[in-house]
Symmetry: C2
Subunit: 237 residues, 2 copies
DNA sequence: CAGTGGTCTAGACCACAAT
DNA sequence: TTGTGGTCTAGACCACTGT
């Protein structure tokens, strides 16, 4: 990382995660840290603010900066709400996919508005069943713009679409809007995710954007309820 | 707001929300805005970065800053994941409560670790059924530290605990850690939320912190699946 | 009071995109 | 080449906390 504030951020982050800086202990004040890392106060503050946003550091005017305790931990795969990567990278486990459908459709009014295209413009429609350690855990329904994301093929769909977009096409994924909700499982969920009718799904609806601000994907993902949760840390600004 | 960057942030935010600045249009460059608002570039950038984090603005080096399109909108009550307020303020609707239980318990090891107290320390345990427009929509199980949050009584519990903490006790709530998941409804959910056994709940687990970094609340909230969703906008930093 | 973090400035220099 | 946003600086001043 050639950016000074990100470099400092990563160094301190590592110290917190590895426990060199213990929870609930005070760290050095800004001025001292500026000298240690040879930077200005503004740069130091930028680095420390990132740690605050991550929930790793707590700062109080007149008092100091303290390492925070660690987060909630449950028996499910915990996906950070702020993560922009797809399942392949988020799950940090063996992910595989089965293509259920892959075809061209015409954009509905609603999806057209999310993807900033015209109603009835052609779109890729992809539905995939995704496995972790061989177990089916998510059904994804994805809509993409063919002219924006060309060259989608079976090989790509069987792996990570996000890796294809970032590594092969050379685009950068920079942001996303998500809504998360619970829903009753339908017959398709029950069939593919091996759920019984009383078992629900965790549905995530998403629009994802490239770093030029253009939306490139609209998707609905339906997760096994007992395998996933979404975590977030929020600070008042 | 006496802070310059928050003031500028709010002014521009209002213009975007009211449509004075239309989606997908370019706004003035930083230097021009600095002149208009009589501030330095760093201050302007701080204000604009807040808008970027809100998903209201998109910025690209060498190109400019653009107003973003508006977010996903569904038929449910959409709670922003970044919100720190309780249901009373988030729902923006008529909220009322019924107290199911209110007693002292001794902290389990797990909850003690979240609240940074010792195992078997006394804690308030409060369960409330919460109504929007008279309909039961959430069951909340809340644990608080009596010495930290004194004076809890029926009047407070029937209204907003958060308002009591901020307005009466004069504390500031500054951050929270949340996990969100889907779950099958249990018999208590079914009874109070009027769900049938195939209908799930959206469960949110939370630890909330005061602005001195001290955790003051651990809670589990089980929401009617058809009434709520959680939304978030994430940007890569 | 001394020590802490928060805000703000005026300017330098750089990276990137469009022309 | 021009115009854009991104980073970084050195310092000023202020607000808050604990002693």
């Amino acid at each position: 990382m050639e950016l000074k504030y990100k470099d400092i951020y990563n160094q301190i982050k590592d110290q917190i995660i590895q426990g060199t800086l213990a929870p609930n202990t005070k760290i050095d004040d800004e001025i001292s840290l500026c000298k240690q890392y040879r930077c200005s106060r503004m740069t130091m503050k930028k680095a420390l603010d990132l740690l605050v946003q991550d929930g790793l550091l707590f700062r109080k005017r007149g008092v100091g900066s303290f390492v925070m305790g660690q987060p909630l931990q449950k028996q499910r795969i915990s996906l950070n709400e702020r993560e922009l990567s797809g399942l392949t990278r988020s799950a940090k486990q063996d992910v595989s996919s089965k293509i259920l459908e892959f075809k061209l459709i015409f954009a509905s009014k609603e999806i057209a508005s999310f993807l900033n295209v015209k109603e009835n413009d052609p779109l890729y429609y992809i539905s995939r069943l995704r496995f972790i350690k061989g177990e089916p855990v998510v059904i994804e329904y994805t809509y993409m713009i063919p002219t924006l994301i060309p060259g989608l093929c079976q090989d790509v769909l069987l792996g990570s679409i996000y890796n294809y977009i970032e590594n092969t096409l050379g685009y950068k994924i920079s942001s996303s809007k998500k809504s998360t909700r619970a829903d009753k499982s339908n017959s398709i969920d029950q069939k593919y995710l091996q759920l019984d009718p009383t078992e629900p799904v965790l549905e995530v609806e998403q629009v994802a954007y490239l770093d030029n601000g253009i939306p490139f994907e609209y998707s609905i993902s339906r997760h096994r309820y007992d395998q996933f949760e979404f975590s977030i840390y929020s600070v008042r600004i």
